[in-house]
């Protein structure tokens, strides 16, 4: 048990400039208490991956990361037999009979560990981050199930490897597809949304040193305003941070229409979005 209460989680994360809301700190606390993996979902750029990194930092654990992609398979995620080395072993040894050799080449010496197995075999506790899990096919998802519920990996030739220490597991998803029930059932579910204006302001203060209180507040409010529009891609937290840095670099003290029009491209990445936001923000909404 690393944390005594959810509040401790929030306080600890604050020391590494990650501002967790009540939901986030509660779920991280539970994950640690119950030894359950956390499935983090939410729009791009709200700090899902960042959360795992921050947790690794405050708990002083190593972070093992598995980036998912279409076509990821067992050999890349779990383990692989180093068969070149196995061949060498067979060729270099002519004295022994086959039984000894075959027993020999399926030992740990010839095993190439991939991130998941690495997390299981780590001698000190780690944080395992399985990033963008929605990118793998449904079939590949099944690979994760054993790890997530039992924290073990079965290798036919070697037997079952059980985790030495309990890893903290985070899975992130952008929700491009519905994950399987089996996977969801094994995880705690955490949805991170865009922060409200108050928290975003705090994030800006923490991440952009030198930003004035007034400007941080304005940036957060503008971000909230833009997110309420119907856009192709709403500005993420990292983009508002970029925007705040831009404003700072331009030594802007007060955001007005002119400044907004000039720097909107930092916040929004589609021409149609920029035009729409410029038009909407500089006219008074009809009540």
């Amino acid at each position: 048990m690393t944390f005594a209460a959810p509040q401790n989680v929030a306080d600890a994360l604050r020391t590494v400039d990650y501002l967790a809301n009540e939901r986030i700190s509660q779920v991280v606390f539970l994950a640690d208490q119950l030894d359950k993996p956390v499935l983090v979902e939410g729009p791009a750029g709200v700090g899902k991956t960042e959360l795992a990194k921050a947790v690794a930092k405050v708990t002083e654990r190593d972070l093992i990361r598995l980036q998912c992609y279409e076509g990821l398979d067992e050999a890349k995620a779990l383990y692989e037999w180093n068969y070149k080395k196995q061949l060498l072993r067979i060729q270099s040894d002519v004295d022994h009979d086959w039984d000894t050799i075959s027993h020999d080449i399926f030992s740990e010496e010839f095993l190439l560990t991939r991130p998941l197995l690495e997390a299981i075999r780590a001698t000190s506790p780690v944080v395992l981050l399985i990033d963008e899990v929605d990118r793998v096919e449904v079939e590949t998802e099944a690979l994760l199930l054993e790890i997530l519920s039992e924290f073990q990996v079965s290798i036919p030739e070697l037997g079952t490897m059980v985790a030495n220490t309990q890893p903290l597991v985070f899975l992130t998803s952008n929700n491009t597809r519905e994950l399987s029930e089996a996977l969801k059932r094994r995880c705690l579910f955490l949805h991170i949304d865009y922060p409200d204006a108050e928290r975003e302001k705090e994030i800006l203060n923490a991440r952009v040193p030198g930003l004035s209180e007034h400007l941080a507040e304005q940036v957060a409010k503008v971000a909230r305003s833009i997110r309420s529009l119907d856009l192709k891609k709403a500005p993420s937290v990292s983009e508002t941070i970029d925007w705040a840095r831009t404003l700072l670099a331009l030594s802007v003290e007060d955001v007005d229409e002119g400044v907004l029009g000039d720097t909107l491209h930092v916040l929004l990445k589609y021409q149609t979005d920029i035009e729409k936001a410029a038009k909407e923000l500089t006219s008074t909404p009809q009540p």
Partner: protein
């Protein structure tokens, strides 16, 4: 506590949220590990363990507010919760008249709330809300009305508009501000007002629960989940919420349609096999195959966009829009009593709103009177685009097949079906209504590969989930 959680899980299930046995046990285990005096902590704990889908959060929040209304918000909340039952009987029917006293009360209440909101004082806000509900909601014990009635009554008597104006006035100061700043302030005020509304709703709910018990209140407040809302009668906010679910669904559909029956990959890759055999001393132990050419399904969507289908067609167009990002060979057509191709209106980078606006303005879908005519639409479609249908084309028709008693000309659909890989019909009407009145579903169904009732998002999901189409026919078979 255990009993309450069991009841809570049952309520979630009754509302349609799937909570498995394992998840319920996890929930209980989790609750044991936390501090029960903290309502937000308890809420997030139960949420994380029981609800695994964002779409179910609204149902969860409603149920939670009912079942755990009496748990204090924060554990250091010293302020004693007054006994709601006692208050209600005391004030039952109070605040009815518009006497002078009540008017003064209202001004006081308004001032208190205003100050609390402006200073973001949570404690004062809750005290103010409690007073407001005491005096304005006029709650009567035992009366079987839902919370919305009391909420409406409190809000009307409180006059939020006035509160909003005064907040605006206060925050705008001397009025020397640009339109841009004014917008930001307006939004700030709106957020505050929303918060107040929520607080009032919470308070009313708490009292209702104390009066009538959890089960009864939960039952009146239960609303269908977003995936169970009838597409024909969905509100625009429902549709907006569905939009988020459509994306993943179309991706799945794309995967379904391009699924191959053949097990092994493509042809033997000789070069790579030899290269690989070097590692095994020249023995080609591990034959390499070329990647199979991915099957690129051609999908043609025919959408009925007549007036009677207004809500449903908005949904299907949304679906089409989402599909256009996953299928390179998607063609879409819209029809009322004649048909026009609308593929180009959904090109990359075009947002949904403007696409719909252009379809209504530019596409030629009305021929005579703007009442659905499936017969003519299909015939025009077949005459104009028929020759381009290939054995790889999957035709999806969405519509209620209500033909206004015009000739159905279902044989045309037969002709189309003969050329295409499959014809699938999605009908937003309940199956029981098919073939009643002017519906000609049965006559078209004869020629369709499959017909599905798609009245809700859930049914659309089921359709995508179970879709199996005949493998793409080869040219020789035609």
């Amino acid at each position: 506590m255990l009993g309450v959680i069991t009841g809570f899980v049952e309520e979630l299930r009754a509302a349609g949220v799937p909570v498995s046995m394992v998840e319920a046990i996890d929930g209980m285990r989790a609750v044991e590990a936390i501090d029960l005096g903290d309502r937000i902590g308890l809420r997030e704990t139960l949420r994380a363990t029981l609800v695994k889908n964002l779409r179910h959060e609204r149902a969860f929040d409603t149920a939670f507010d009912i079942y755990f209304a009496t748990v204090p918000l924060r554990k250091d909340d010293t302020d004693e919760e007054p006994d709601p039952t006692r208050e209600m009987t005391q004030d039952g029917g109070g605040g009815q008249g518009g006497s002078g006293d009540a008017e003064i009360d209202r001004q006081d209440l308004l001032n208190a709330l205003l100050e609390a909101l402006a200073r973001m004082d949570q404690e004062a806000l809750r005290r103010g809300v409690r007073n407001a509900v005491d005096h304005l909601a006029g709650m009567e014990p035992g009366r079987p009305v839902g919370g919305t009635y009391y909420l409406y009554r409190t809000l009307r008597r409180l006059d939020l508009a006035e509160l909003e104006d005064r907040l605006l006035e206060e925050m705008m100061g001397d009025g020397d501000i640009s339109e841009f700043e004014e917008r930001l302030i307006r939004e700030e005020v709106q957020a505050l007002i929303d918060r107040l509304r929520e607080e009032i709703q919470d308070e009313i709910r708490r009292r209702l629960v104390a009066d009538r018990g959890r089960e009864a209140v939960a039952k009146t407040l239960r609303r269908p989940l977003i995936e169970d809302i009838d597409l024909m009668h969905a509100t625009s906010s429902d549709l907006a919420e569905m939009e988020a679910a459509i994306g993943p669904l179309t991706r799945k559909l794309a995967a379904r349609l391009s699924r191959r029956r053949r097990k092994r990959a493509g042809r033997l890759d000789f070069r790579r096999t030899v290269r690989k055999s070097l590692a095994t001393g020249g023995v080609p132990a591990d034959p390499q195959f070329r990647h199979p050419r991915p099957h690129r399904p051609e999908v043609w969507l025919l959408c009925d966009i007549s007036g009677s289908m207004a809500t449903f067609s908005r949904f299907t167009l949304q679906f089409t829009h989402a599909m256009s990002t996953h299928f390179s060979k998607l063609r879409s057509f819209a029809f009322v009593d004649t048909i026009d191709e609308v593929t180009d209106f959904f090109g990359p980078g075009i947002d949904f709103g403007s696409a719909v606006a252009r379809i209504t303005a530019e596409a030629e879908v009305v021929w005579l009177d703007g009442h659905s005519d499936y017969g003519n639409s299909l015939e025009t479609f077949h005459a104009r685009y028929g020759p381009q249908i290939t054995p790889r084309t999957t035709v999806i028709v969405t519509g209620d097949a209500r033909n206004n008693y015009r000739p159905a000309r279902e044989t045309v659909l037969g002709e189309i079906a003969k050329k295409a890989r499959a014809v699938v019909w999605l009908n937003p009407e309940p199956r029981a209504y098919w073939d009643t009145g002017d519906s000609t579903m049965g006559r078209y169904a004869t020629y369709c590969t499959s017909v599905h009732e798609v009245r809700t998002l859930r049914q659309l999901e089921e359709f995508v989930e179970t879709l199996t189409l005949p493998a793409g026919r080869t040219m020789q078979n035609v």
